[in-house]
Amino acid sequence: MYNGGKIIAGLIIFIGLFTFPIFYNMGKASKMPEPKLDTPAIKELPEAERKCVESKEYMKANHMQLLDEWRDLVLRDGNLVYESTSGKKYIMSLQNTCMHCHSNKKEFCDKCHTYANVKPYCWSCHISPKENET
């Protein structure tokens, strides 16, 4: 090796940086987060009516776009009623419709958002629900 010291030092730094996630996660057991659906409002509903405005799969994938559309419909068009694919009508309101059932923002919204480092800007306009620290 010529200039072996420098080259090996460089390689070690490179490998150290490259394997950073391995060291960072070492000894931490992280579980896949599951949003919790055990709020009082949901529990009150009879079993058959425990449904979101659209199917679970649709909501999981597209809730952000749905909310975005709702915002535009309500704020720009003044249209307040959403008709879901099942024909049921809902008032388009994050705080009054969504958060009525999902009143557990920390356990429902934040769990996955924090996990995936997603930072929605819902709460820069809306008032986030007050939750008791548990």
Binding site: M1, Y2, N3, G4, I7, G10, L11, F14, I15, F18, F20, P21, I22, Y24, N25, M26, K28, S30, M32, P33, K60, A61, N62, M64, Q65, L67, D68, C112, T114, Y115, A116, N117, V118, K119, Y121
Partner: protein, 330 residues
């Protein structure tokens, strides 16, 4: 032709992942085995390639001298373009690696009416290259959010900065768009400019198509097709903590993306992309031009038995005098 072969190769890779996951149900192979294999090939390949370069002797100073070398104190030295000290070399390397300074001095040659030769400065390659490499770097760093739990603050800040336009839902990340545009530009440049097309090989087109398809599948997943990001992160966290399980219901686009990225990583040590290590080890850049100050001796010079003139004269002085030859010492 080279471009078409490369395009077919990349389409083939996409099909392998598509069929492997959708038809053959090899989720574990494509989600766990292939990425591990690719990373091992990448690391071993990069190390052995760099070690091989490190064992190559560079006996003499061969830096590219792009300016006035160190001379008399009253002649101004170009310290970055012709460095004579280690500090100068570090400065030159940093500017080269971070800002692609040598591409900035790119010139274009044209034959005009007359015929006259004209040289003009051209910055497009520099700009495209810089945009491409930096956006790729930011994209790579941003992906660490899938490999760290909890996500470190600096990664959160990078992503916030990257998405500060707050366009659309989920917010457009500038680096991804710039990456796709830049790689498209670099590809079009190869195809459209006849001189560049003439010297372009399959090894030039293949990485471009590969990176283009990686960026495309990434953008598709983020903005259009929607994948289960929480499930994906469970898989990637499992990969880095050596406890990989493949969650149900991850879209096939993710496996295609992952397979293309794995191919890219495994391909790096055998390809031109090794310039990421090569730029630091290129003797035309990393050597100080100090030939006039330091004597560099070739390490494989075999010992030569010397018989200097003064010794020769000592040996034959009397005979030389008799023959009437001039001698230096009487």
């Amino acid at each position: 032709m080279n471009a078409i072969i490369s395009l077919i190769a990349v389409i083939g890779l996409v099909l392998i992942a598509l069929i492997g996951v959708n038809v053959a149900n090899l989720h574990f192979i494509f989600g766990v085995v292939v990425p591990y294999f690719a990373i091992v090939v990448f690391l071993i390949g990069v190390i052995s390639r760099v070690m091989k370069w490190g064992r190559t002797p560079v006996p003499f100073r061969i830096p590219t001298t792009c300016g006035q070398q160190q001379s008399f104190p009253w002649i101004k030295q170009s310290k970055l373009d012709n460095p004579s000290t280690a500090a100068g070399v570090v400065g030159r390397m940093l500017l080269e690696v971070l800002l692609f300074r040598s591409l900035f001095s790119n010139t274009k040659f044209e034959l005009r009416e007359g015929p006259k030769i004209a040289y003009g400065s051209t910055k497009w390659l520099w700009l495209g290259g810089l945009a491409f490499h930096w956006s790729f770097f930011v994209v790579l760093v941003r992906h660490l959010r899938l490999f760290t739990e909890p996500v470190p603050v600096f990664l959160q800040n990078i992503e916030a900065l990257d998405g500060f336009l707050q366009v659309g839902i989920p917010g457009v990340l500038i680096s991804g768009v710039v990456l796709l545009l830049a790689v498209t530009y670099l590809f079009l440049r190869r195809v459209i400019e006849p001189a560049v097309r003439y010297i372009s090989l399959a090894a030039d087109y293949f990485p471009l198509f590969l990176i283009m398809s990686i960026a495309l599948t990434g953008i598709l997943m983020r903005y259009f097709l929607r994948v289960d990001i929480v499930g994906i992160k469970a898989l990637t966290i499992g990969l880095v903590s050596f406890n990989a399980k493949v969650p149900e219901g991850i879209s096939v686009v993710f496996y295609i993306h992952l397979f293309l990225v794995s191919t890219l990583f495994a391909y790096i040590p055998f390809s031109k992309i090794m310039h990421l290590g090569g730029v630091l080890l290129s003797p035309t850049r990393n050597l100080p031009n100090n030939s006039r100050m330091v004597r560099h001796i070739n390490p494989w010079n075999y010992p030569v038995e010397l018989h200097t003139y003064s010794e020769y004269e000592d040996e034959f002085r009397e005979k030389m005098k008799k023959a009437g030859l001039p001698v230096e010492k009487e």
